[in-house]
Amino acid sequence: MKGFGKYVIFLGSLFVRRETFKTYYQLVLEECIIIGIGSILLFVLVSTFMGAVSTIQTAANLVNPLIPRYIISQVVREMTILELAPTIMAIIYAGKVGSSMAGGLGTMRITEQIDALEVMGINSSSYLVLPKIIASILMYPLLVIVAGVCSLVGGYLVGTLTGIMTAEDYIYGIRLAFNPYFISFALIKSLVFAFLISSISSFKGYYTQGGALEVGIASTSAVTTSVIAVLLSDYFLAQLLL
């Protein structure tokens, strides 16, 4: 609870004593590139396989010949948009980007780089953390969209190549009874998750105390805490918005 209060104060500190817009523009751009290039490959890989595996497993469960095959791709679509792309990818994102944010900030803390910024009169939390959060909020939804597309493509490839269903069936299922609101829901979720993961990980890294060991601990705890926060907020958002 005390940690939560500190987290809220930390978030508040991001918005006081800021640098010029130009500085942030540059920093955000840099972070976007780091995040985007750093995680795109992993996202493509994981989501393609996820789509492929869900297709196979859904097909394996639908043994009743009365159920048309295109239901499979419809199910895969719903799973991908609602849960796999935004939420499961958030866990991957926490492991990849969150841990490196915490590790990077933790290292800067224990090697006094953060103190060096403060002595120069720079609000270090705002200077270092705000660009990371903004970049996450910008990049994560894009990554989720990419992951969603890859997942459906993965499903398509496996579905048609292994003979589970025809290409026409797959496409038909994908387009059947499509609710565009689910896309908005997925994007809202990804915005929330991006904020939670980047801010929690930065928080954990920024307040690291001690040495290299503690940086490792901060990294790990950044991932676990953000994952828990993601899952909790996933539940509440589903309750609230669906």
């Binding site: 004593r17 500085t23 800067m108 780089q113 060096a116 002595v119 120069m120 009169g121």
Partner: protein, 253 residues
């Protein structure tokens, strides 16, 4: 000149600094010495404002820093340069970007002017042709030098160094010490150096403050340190047998 008035600081109810007062003179290298864990770094952090003292105040040339508003604080901070124990260079920036960083954030000078100044400072600390090296590619002593270059790049009035020669060989230590002393005199700035290295004390200790368990027990210059009559200081100064034998025999240096 920097003046501190009755600075006290406690962590979780445990007192670390107990009402420290003193002055650091302009144009001199002022040392804060004492054995490990006596609160030297905490005192330095209180002076530069990285830590808020529980009590007491810090004056930078008669400007009250502790109670200054944000604007005043950042104005005074612009006049500070600090060398950290490990150099604290930004890992993601190369040497040139590191040294230029204070100019980038604190001034609006054109790039060329900034580059000139950076190269001048790097030359001043004896580093040339390393502009594009990353901090991980240079040695500890070079990091310290880059740290000094970064600390002086914006023409500070106040220079702070936390253990400038820890982790360096004795020869390099002396070079760094001399560099700090020269810069201090050359630009007539107020320099505060935290150290527990006796070589530095004897080499550049024009004005020395001795801390012991969070209290200031003695103040003076290296000329007087051998005959202070303070037992704790003697224990600190005369750590080995050779030095102990010297005690009493040396009256003036």
């Amino acid at each position: 000149m920097i003046k501190i008035n009755h600075i006290s600081k406690a962590f979780n109810g445990r007192s670390v600094l107990d009402s420290i007062s003193g002055e650091f003179d302009k144009g001199k290298t002022n040392l804060i010495i004492g054995s490990s864990g006596t609160g030297k770094s905490v005192l330095l952090k209180c002076i530069v404002g990285l830590l808020q003292p529980d009590q007491g105040s810090v004056y930078f040339d008669l400007r009250n820093f502790t109670e200054a508003d944000k604007e005043m604080k950042s104005e005074i901070r612009r006049e500070m340069g600090m060398l950290f124990q490990g150099g604290a260079l930004f890992d993601s920036k190369n040497v040139e970007q590191n040294v230029m960083f204070p100019l980038d954030v604190l001034t609006t000078k054109p790039l060329e002017e900034k580059l000139d100044r950076v190269n001048f400072c790097l030359k001043r600390v004896g580093l040339e042709n390393v502009n594009s090296k990353m901090p991980s590619e240079i040695s500890g002593g070079m990091k310290k030098r880059v740290g000094i270059a970064r600390a002086i790049v914006n023409n500070p009035n106040y220079l702070f160094c936390d253990e400038p020669n820890s982790g360096l060989d004795p020869q390099t230590s002396i070079v760094i010490d001399e560099l700090i002393k020269e810069i201090t005199e050359e630009y007539d700035i107020t320099t505060v150096v935290v150290t527990h290295d006796m070589n530095s004390v004897m080499g550049i200790g024009e004005k020395i403050m001795f801390l012991y368990k969070g209290q200031k027990l003695w103040e003076g210059s290296y000329r007087e340190i051998m005959n202070s009559g303070v037992k704790e200081l003697d224990d600190f100064v005369f750590t080995n047998k050779v030095m102990k034998n010297l005690k009493g025999k040396v009256t003036s240096l």
